[in-house]
């Protein structure tokens, strides 16, 4: 049985009242969700609380789940909306790609004298610098980067989560990567 079919079966069993089925869903998705939420909010305890809340919200909305969609993408859509709600309540305008960001687009072509930025660092230092750079890039770019390269979703899956065209998602992930690459040289 594929992972997608397995998820659908677990959802059906949960709706029928089998608690163990939802327990299996939590076990399967807790780490991917925490890795996404954690990198979006930056604090471990807050991320753990939010991950719990997302599971609770998911459980109470299971009747609205449509089996034609992948359960995983549906779950991450709930998580994404949860984070947007949180920032909205805190009046943090983290989810709008403003004009300044639009003007700060990375170059499309490789320049003639482009330096090798990444090669300069050891792998462990590079990872640390990527984590720091991730905190600095705009939330909509960070979100798609984490889904693509940490959660390892396909571009099509990310497009399904966000309800945006695949081309837009590819472009956002590309922007995120080039912004991170540019920020690697920052000292702090």
């Amino acid at each position: 049985m594929s992972s997608v079919d397995e998820d659908k079966e677990l959802v059906e069993r949960t709706i029928k009242g089998e608690k163990e089925a939802f327990e299996m869903i939590i076990r399967k998705y807790q780490q991917p969700l925490l890795n996404y939420i954690g990198r979006m909010v930056g604090e471990r305890e807050l991320a753990l609380d939010f991950t719990q809340e997302v599971f609770i919200r998911t459980y109470s909305s299971l009747h609205f789940y449509k089996p034609q969609y992948k359960f995983g993408t549906w779950l991450f859509k709930i998580a994404s909306n949860f984070i947007i709600d949180y920032w909205r309540k805190k009046k943090i305008d983290a989810f709008s790609l403003d004009q300044q960001q639009a003007n700060n687009l990375p170059p499309l072509q490789v320049s003639d004298e482009e330096p090798s930025i990444v090669k300069k660092f050891e792998t462990s230092e590079l990872r640390e610098r990527i984590e720091r750079a991730l905190e600095k890039i705009p939330a909509p770019l960070r979100e798609v980067f984490v889904w693509r390269h940490v959660n390892e979703f396909s571009y099509e899956e990310i497009a399904e989560i966000k309800g945006l065209p695949v081309g837009t998602i590819k472009n956002r992930v590309f922007q995120a990567k080039e912004l991170i690459r540019k920020l690697l040289e920052d000292k702090k």
């Binding site: 608690k19 939802f22 327990e23 939590i26 076990r27 807790q30 780490q31 925490l34 890795n35 954690g38 471990r44 991320a47 753990l48 991950t51 719990q52 599971f55 609770i56 459980y59 990375p106 170059p107 499309l108 072509q109 490789v110 003639d112 482009e114 090798s116 930025i117 990444v118 090669k119 792998t123 590079l126 990872r127 990527i130 984590e131 980067f145 390269h149 940490v150 390892e152 571009y155 590819k170 472009n171 992930v173 590309f174 990567k177 080039e178 991170i180 690459r181 690697l184």
Partner: protein, 192 residues
């Protein structure tokens, strides 16, 4: 083929192109040092990004979520069992106490009975006085409400509805402001 765009470089690394497109790109990369260098830099970036340390959930995370979704309900039988257990424990403790100290159980019952009687005898005059005071208060309250209703009836027959509204509004404002004033005074007193 002309030089690759940076987005194409990423998509090539992520194997997003068809076999035919890949072949064309590889042919170009074999001859273009600039694109090859740019590709190597991005490949290292992606390799590091895909091996970022994972955040771990605590071992009891699943149980914590399950406990929040399905809070444990204590059944009536469990309550009854707990109450019976408590009662039996008290009886057992009393029994053990008498067994250990060697005291006479009937003597204790007699002294308990005597203590209860003293309590009732001392408390009864006070409770009678309290009852009298309560009935007096109820009578006063009854009379006051009768006067209030009479006054209100008189008011509605003598004064026009517009004036009635004004009088009632003024009364409410006066009562509210005096309550507010008393509260504020009390608060000031607390702070002092």
């Amino acid at each position: 083929m002309k030089c690759l765009s940076i987005e194409q470089i990423y998509l090539y690394i992520e194997k997003e192109f068809s076999a035919a497109q890949n072949k064309k790109i590889e042919q170009h990369l074999a001859t273009c040092l600039k694109c090859k260098k740019a590709l190597e830099d991005r490949r290292l970036l992606l390799q590091a990004a895909e091996s970022l340390p994972l955040w771990q959930t605590p071992p009891d995370f699943t149980q914590q979520v399950m406990a929040r979704i399905f809070p444990a309900k204590v059944s009536l039988s469990a309550w009854l069992t707990a109450a019976s257990a408590g009662f039996v424990s008290i009886i057992l403790a009393i029994f053990i106490f008498f067994l250990v100290t060697g005291q006479n159980i009937s003597g204790l019952l007699a002294s308990l009975n005597q203590a209860l009687w003293y309590f009732v005898r001392n408390i009864s005059p006070i409770s009678v006085k309290l009852l009298k005071l309560a009935s007096l208060f109820v009578k006063l309250l009854q009379q006051f409400s009768e006067y209030l209703i009479k006054g209100f009836t008189l008011l509605t027959t003598i004064i026009s509805p517009e004036v009635q509204i004004i009088v009632i509004t003024i009364t409410i404002i006066l009562v509210a402001s005096s309550v507010y004033g008393i509260r504020k005074k009390l608060l000031v007193g607390e702070k002092a």
